[in-house]
């Protein structure tokens, strides 16, 4: 009955009550997941000596120290100026007012091999060749700067240089599996926001933008008489950041538009994918010795595990979060039923001839926690009848480790796939990835 709405009664009290009504939330699981993620995240470098490294203020009064510093700088500057001939003791007349010829017209620079073209004001030039993923341009009087940072794929290292005034710093945009571009863009936004204003005292002007046809964001602020502008996007999982810094007095919307609108990605002609039709977040592996083929998350690199005797093939991928074992291990035994099976406690050689014996040999972890039940489920793997052994932990992911085993026999050989649920959860892979991995499993014959 909407007619009972009490407006305009004490609205503040209404708001208090309404906001108070939400659920009480406990963040243990969220914090656990975040901390697992943090394990693989490097901290940024401080932009200044942190407090614990800073000296205590000296006894010299600040004003005196300031005057002294300015005097020293002035003397040094005059010295350098005289020696270097930069400062004219008899100033020459200044250039006259701007003429038509000085009007800065944009020019396009094409970097075919690097995958982009950029429009810079006329008279500007590239000031350095890049070996750090940064293309630097300068021009104008007083000088303006433009840097184009094209980072490494987020699925690989995600390293991208974030520049501000003269210095560029390497930052890492963490990989997300499954890859989530919006979240990567959000992370880039935070990194740039902090770069512009480490204390986040101000919220630099944030707006949606378009860069080379991609949805992008821009942040801008005016500080120290200069306008700083970042436009950034994710292109083919690579972060790209344009940073433009010009004296506020010489800032023009025309140049800005020319810069942003003129930026183009130059994509190489499409090559045929080695795995047609397959999501690029996964790579296909084929194991001739084990006689199977399957998809593995791209981010999970293969570890160089040694094959023990008594097993035809062992392949391990990824590193389980917080633990020494792999995130995914595929083990194929011999025709006589021998197979090495590894758990958190080590590896043992078993000889098994039936699915029931194989099931008996598999030890899921962790088994010693209260309320944990071992669950068995029938399934198929690569067309063969198979079983799943997993732990019911009452909805809570214990770990690490938290194994999820799928096992079968094929042509008389035992086959075991062991996935670490803890890692799946903490790398935000979840059920979708597990299904993708298992569904893709095929025996070669």
């Amino acid at each position: 009955m909407s007619g009972t709405t009490n407006v305009p009664r004490d609205f503040d009290r209404l708001l208090d009550a309404w906001l108070d009504e939400g659920p009480n939330l406990y963040a243990d699981r969220v914090v656990g997941s975040a901390l697992a993620q943090v394990e693989s995240v490097k901290q940024a470098q401080p932009l200044w000596p942190p407090r614990w490294m800073r000296r205590e203020p000296s006894a010299v009064p600040r004003a005196f120290a300031l005057v002294l510093a300015v005097t020293v700088l002035l003397v040094a500057a005059i010295g350098v100026g005289i020696v270097g001939g930069f400062i004219r003791l008899n100033p020459q007349p200044q250039p006259g007012p701007t003429t038509d010829q000085d009007v800065r017209l944009p020019q396009e620079l094409v970097f075919d091999a690097d995958g982009f073209s950029v429009v810079i004001p006329n008279g500007w030039q590239q000031v350095s060749t890049t070996d750090d993923g940064v293309w630097r341009f300068e021009g104008g009087d007083p000088p303006g700067q433009l840097t184009v940072s094209f980072g490494d794929s987020i699925i690989a290292s995600g390293v991208v240089a974030i520049c501000h005034l003269g210095s560029c710093e390497q930052e890492e945009i963490e990989s997300q599996v499954p890859y989530d571009e919006t979240r990567s863009l959000g992370q880039l936004q935070v990194v740039i926001n902090v770069r512009l204003d480490p204390e986040l005292n101000t919220q630099p002007g944030l707006a949606d933008a378009t860069l080379g046809g991609l949805a992008a964001e821009q942040q801008a602020e005016v500080a120290g008489g200069r306008r700083h502008l970042y436009v950034y996007a994710i292109h083919e999982s690579r972060p790209i950041v344009l940073y433009w810094s010009v004296p506020e007095a010489s800032f023009t919307e025309t140049e800005l538009l020319a810069l942003v609108d003129g930026f183009t990605f130059i994509d190489p002609p499409p090559a045929s994918s080695p795995i047609p039709g397959i999501d690029e977040e996964y790579v296909e592996i084929t194991d001739a010795a084990g006689g199977y083929r399957m998809l593995v998350p791209y981010a999970w690199e293969e570890s160089g595990a040694q094959e023990p005797e008594g097993t035809a093939s062992v392949r391990s991928f990824g590193s389980a979060v917080d633990y020494g074992h792999a995130a995914l291990t595929i083990t194929v035994g011999e025709l006589d039923g021998s197979i090495w099976l590894c758990g958190a406690g080590g590896c043992d050689l078993h000889v098994v001839n039936t699915l029931a014996e194989l099931e008996e040999a598999i030890v899921s972890e962790p088994t010693d926690l209260p309320g944990v039940q071992v669950i068995h489920v029938d399934t198929t793997l690569g067309g063969e009848p198979a079983r799943i052994e997993r732990l019911d932990t009452g909805g809570f992911i214990w770990g690490p480790p938290a194994f999820y085993n799928i096992y079968t026999f094929h042509d008389g050989r035992p086959v075991v796939i062991q996935l670490d649920n803890w890692t799946l959860t903490n790398e935000l892979l979840g059920v979708g990835a597990r299904n993708m991995i298992l569904r893709s499993f095929t025996f070669l014959d």
């Binding site: 309404w18 963040a27 936004q189 935070v190």
Partner: protein
């Protein structure tokens, strides 16, 4: 606030500050402690801002990771609390964008325990408040949550978010005006409906 409360709060701040300084130096154990200390608070604020538990969990998780990464750049550890809210606000923005890109925002009213829900709030109030709140810009939502959920004064909100007091006032004013207008419109519609029935 009593003297004992104040003392307790100061002690908690000292602990937090010491953890922040250690975490800034790369001490993961200290950061873990800090994360558990602030986790509930970040999650609850995110939920109030986003009005969705799943999105709030994602935002809080991303915020904690960002806080770890960017912490060495925080110059004044005593400003950590407000700084962490601003990181959280950024994470909430990202979640809103993700949600908008993946699917149109739907109105999910949060479950309210009938016994604990405020009897002064009618169902229509809740719907309209929910709808109007979701129309607000993120920055306005944040101010309202800090002011009306955490119970901070506008001066404290301004201090935490490091925005001018005038900005905090105008955001609060604008946000409440929009929400009140939505409620009033609903009341008019309801009354008109009642008259015509």
């Amino acid at each position: 606030m009593s003297g004992a409360d104040r003392e307790g709060r100061n002690e908690a701040l000292d602990v937090e500050r010491s953890l922040v300084v250690r975490a800034q130096q790369g001490d993961r154990e200290a950061f873990s402690e800090l994360a558990f200390l602030m986790g509930d608070r970040l999650l609850t604020i995110a939920q109030r801002i986003l009005r969705d538990v799943d999105l709030a969990e994602d935002a809080a998780q991303q915020a904690i990771v960002s806080i770890w990464r960017e912490l060495p750049k925080l110059r004044e550890p005593e400003r950590f609390e407000g700084w962490s809210y601003r990181i959280l606000q950024n994470a909430c923005r990202t979640e809103i964008r993700r949600e908008r890109r993946s699917m149109p925002m739907e109105l999910h009213r949060l479950p309210v325990d009938a016994a604990s829900g405020d009897p002064a709030l009618s169902l229509a109030d809740r719907d309209e408040l929910e709808r109007a709140f979701r129309q607000l810009p993120l920055e306005h939502r944040t101010v309202l949550v800090l002011q009306h959920y955490l119970g901070l004064t506008l001066e404290q909100v301004a201090e935490r978010l490091e925005i001018p007091i005038g900005t905090a006032r105008s955001r609060s004013h604008y946000a409440k005006r929009s929400m009140r207008a939505a409620l009033e419109a609903d009341a008019r519609t309801g009354n008109a409906g009642a008259r015509s029935a």
